[in-house]
Amino acid sequence: MKGVIFNLLEEAVVLEHGPDTWTDLIDATGVDGAFTSLGSYPDETLLALVDTAAAATGKTPSDVLRWFGAAAMPLLAERYGVFFTGHSGARSFILSVNEIIHPEVRKLYSGAGCPHFQFSTDAEGAMIIGYQSPRRLCALAEGFILGAAAHYGEQVTITHLACMLDGSPLCRIRVRWVE
């Protein structure tokens, strides 16, 4: 996992809960806590931080990830505004992940293991996103989608048609835009 994810998590936590909370979270999880955006850190560290936060707030780890994804989006827009301009809405922004955003991520973070999403549209015009990753961070993806919609002032409802966390080989996430 790239350090930038930890940095974003820290920023989101600090923004919402104040600077002490992050240090508390680091201490409570018992991890090192020095993250630089260009470094690589074990996936387990992130999952441990999420678990600790979930335990402290009484939420599920998925809820925490979902919250993190949504909260990270404005921070990303601040850091990497160029990826957000040129899109009229969240749909086109989301569709550019494979072709534009992830290639750019790989330029910065050599060896970054970015997931590949399969996009399709169902009969009602909703977007179907296929996701498969050993990290099983579909909840984070959901959060990013929610955050993207919010960035463009849109509202979406997200449903998991199938989920790896339920033993499915892959996740199928349905995103419907609320008119």
Binding site: T36, S37, L38, G86, E99, R106, K107, L108, S110
Partner: protein
């Protein structure tokens, strides 16, 4: 103000605040350091990618066997690695007036951009028109934003249909010349990026090398198959084409094929008198005249020559050939058609060579052969055409001879006779007859003999010169035969008795080629010394045509041998050019009046007048006169009346063997 040593220890709050400020500074520094590092990484990544792309394209350019392969592979790499949706190649036309899609294209999303690809892959853009036409005209790359809405973009409707946001086109340069244009399109709207432009320009430099290499290769092949002087196909290419054409036709259809062989007349003279540069100019002019004339012939529909194809070639030296294909009709019509072609070629040479070859006259002797089932190989066809050409050449300048079966028979007979002649010389099958020459006075005493060669042919019996001298001359065997005659006649003459102290002279015929040999005078001297014959008794007979080939040489030889007393005689006077100016210049001792004039005499008519004129002429110049072919006493009397001094003919004695002549002398 801080006073060290006396200051109050800071409160915890103050220290905390200070630590927090330090943390924030550290954090800001880290973020800044990360940004700088990210920028560096991105730049590094991009230049690495570009380098890889260029390396890849360089590799493609080096490995590709064809231009199309190099372009196709490079296009694919550029589209894939630089994220272009469409790549397309347009080639510059041979006449350099337009660029045209050559069906080399790549598309990442083929079905989505089909309309645009279909409009592009075969489209032609005149120079200066449309994006590719402009790049061709300027030789510079061009970036186009939103091509669907550009008035400068010809394919705007298709660009809109395929939702193209950005396009760019690059020239591929071989040297300074645009040889192709590459164009790329993508859906995204991307502003002109100098880095992308530079990469694509570098890629096109590499691809330009493929074109240059291809050009060099083709130039090598062209050079190997063409004559550098005239630019015509050379012998190798001509033979290839002939072979290919020959093999394509079944034996029954082979008469659709013919070969013309042209050998220049008078070319050697140009080289010798005007130099090799002049010779080269003549060859260049001949090549151009042939090509132009054949092109004109090909463009004459509705004539007998309609549909015929020609390929001229220079075989080497002053020999040219024309391969004629798709010849229609049968035997006679074909000969007619090729005679017409040959006539056109003769005319073209006449019209085009005057000024370059003057004062020498250059033309061509043309021989041709038409393919037939009899020809087992192209070599045989070529050989027939060559034989026909030699036949044309032998007949004089500017002639055309087509190979026929009859000509083949004649040539075969001649070849056989040549072989027999060679064997005959080796086996000494020749002997000399001697015909007496007498004084045309009352005594009619024998004063000399003319040596006449005879061939005791093992099968055909005794042959007279008329049956073999022509072949001996054309084959060059005359040099051996003539030398033998000279020596044998001298040897015989040396053995003759000298009744009354006055030994007879010996008249010996000298062939043109024998006389033209550089060492001829020395050879005569050598034979005189070897045989011991008194040189003053030798009279060498030259025909007028032999004497005037090279008048300077003739004068020199005559004067040289005259120093030792050898005399010369002008044979057959009146039958050739009879040029008074050459007669005046040539210091002959004796003039022989041809038998035809003697036979034409009747005592009072025109015939007598001609002989009288010749006698008067010879006397004026101071030449002795010998009349040939005197068969009757009346002719003898008339010649005596006209003042002729010597005579020979059946009336005085037939040619006889040496043994008999000795008896004649002793009588």
């Amino acid at each position: 103000m801080i006073h060290a040593g006396v200051a109050e220890p800071p409160s915890l709050e103050a220290r905390l605040a200070r630590a927090e400020r330090a943390t924030i500074r550290e954090r800001t520094a880290r973020l800044e350091a990360e940004r700088i590092a990210e920028h560096g990484l991105r730049t590094l990544y991009e230049s690495k990618q570009r380098l890889q792309l260029l390396q890849h394209i360089t590799g493609v350019a080096n490995r590709a066997r064809t231009i199309a392969e190099a372009l196709g592979t490079a296009l694919e790499a550029i589209c894939e690695r630089m994220n272009w949706t469409i790549g397309n190649v347009l080639m510059v036309s041979a006449d350099r007036t337009y660029v045209e899609g050559c069906n080399i294209w790549r598309a990442n999303d083929a079905s989505g951009v089909m309309a645009f690809v279909e409009a592009s892959r075969r489209m032609r853009f005149p120079i200066g028109e449309g994006l590719p036409g402009r790049v061709f005209a300027t030789g510079r790359s061009e970036w186009i934003a939103n091509p669907g809405h550009s008035a400068m973009f010809v394919r705007a409707p298709e660009a809109i249909r395929c939702d193209l946001g950005t396009g760019c086109a690059f020239p591929v340069l071989a040297g300074d010349e645009v040889v192709a244009v590459l164009e790329f399109y993508m859906r995204q709207a991307v502003p002109e990026d100098p880095e992308i432009v530079e990469i694509l320009e570098q890629a096109s430099i590499q691809l330009g090398r493929v074109f240059e290499r291809d050009r060099a290769q083709r130039a090598l092949i062209h050079d190997a198959l063409h004559d550098p002087l005239t630019g015509l196909p050379n012998r190798a290419l001509f033979n290839d084409r002939l072979q290919e054409s020959f093999e394509r036709l079944t034996p029954a259809r082979r008469h659709a094929l013919a070969v013309l062989v042209l050998d220049l007349d008078g070319f050697k003279q140009v080289n010798d008198t005007l130099g090799h540069h002049a010779g080269d100019r003549v060859l260049i002019r001949v090549g151009r005249a042939l090509s132009d004339a054949l092109t004109l012939l090909e463009q004459r529909p509705g004539t007998d020559l309609d549909g015929i194809r020609f390929s001229p070639a220079r075989m080497g030296g002053d020999e040219f050939t024309v391969l004629v294909e798709d010849l229609a009709g049968e035997d006679l019509a074909q000969h007619g058609a090729i005679d017409a072609i040959a006539t056109a070629l003769h005319r073209a040479l006449d019209e085009n060579l005057g000024s370059v070859s003057e004062p020498a006259q250059v033309g061509a002797s043309i021989g041709y052969a038409i393919g037939s089932a009899v020809h087992a190989s192209v070599d045989q066809l070529l050989r027939d055409a060559d034989l026909a050409m030699y036949e044309a050449k032998a007949g004089g300048r500017g002639r055309t001879v087509g190979f026929t079966d009859a000509l083949g028979d004649t040539l075969r007979d001649r070849a056989r006779l040549t072989n027999e002649l060679r064997e005959g010389i080796e086996r000494c099958e020749f002997e000399l007859d001697y015909q007496p020459i007498v004084t045309l006075d009352s005594a009619k005493s024998v004063c000399g003999f003319e040596a006449l060669v005879r061939w005791n042919h093992p099968v055909r019996g005794r042959l007279l010169p008329a049956e073999f001298i022509a072949v001996a001359e054309s084959s060059g065997l005359i040099l051996y035969l003539g030398d033998w005659v000279l020596r044998e006649a001298c040897r015989t003459a040396a053995s003759w008795p000298a009744p009354g102290g006055q030994a007879p002279f010996i008249s010996i015929n000298i062939a043109a080629r024998q006389f033209a040999q550089p060492g001829f005078a020395a050879r005569v001297r050598q034979i005189v010394l070897e045989t011991g014959v008194e040189p003053t008794r030798i009279r060498l007979e030259l025909t007028e045509s032999t004497a005037i080939v090279d008048i300077d040489h003739t004068c020199a030889v005559i004067q040289e041998i005259r120093k030792w007393g050898v005399q010369t005689s002008l044979d057959d006077f009146g039958t050739g050019f009879s040029s008074l100016s050459s007669l005046h210049r040539l210091p002959f001792d004796v003039l022989k009046i041809d038998r035809s004039f003697v036979m034409a005499m009747d005592g009072n008519g025109k015939g007598d007048g001609i002989v009288r004129a010749i006698v008067a002429l010879a006397r004026t110049i101071g030449m002795t006169i010998v009349a040939e072919g005197i068969e009757t006493p009346a002719q003898a009397e008339l010649l005596i009346g006209l003042g002729c001094e010597l005579g020979q003919g059946y009336h005085f004695g037939r040619p006889a063997l040496a043994s008999q002549t000795a008896a004649l002398l002793e009588r």
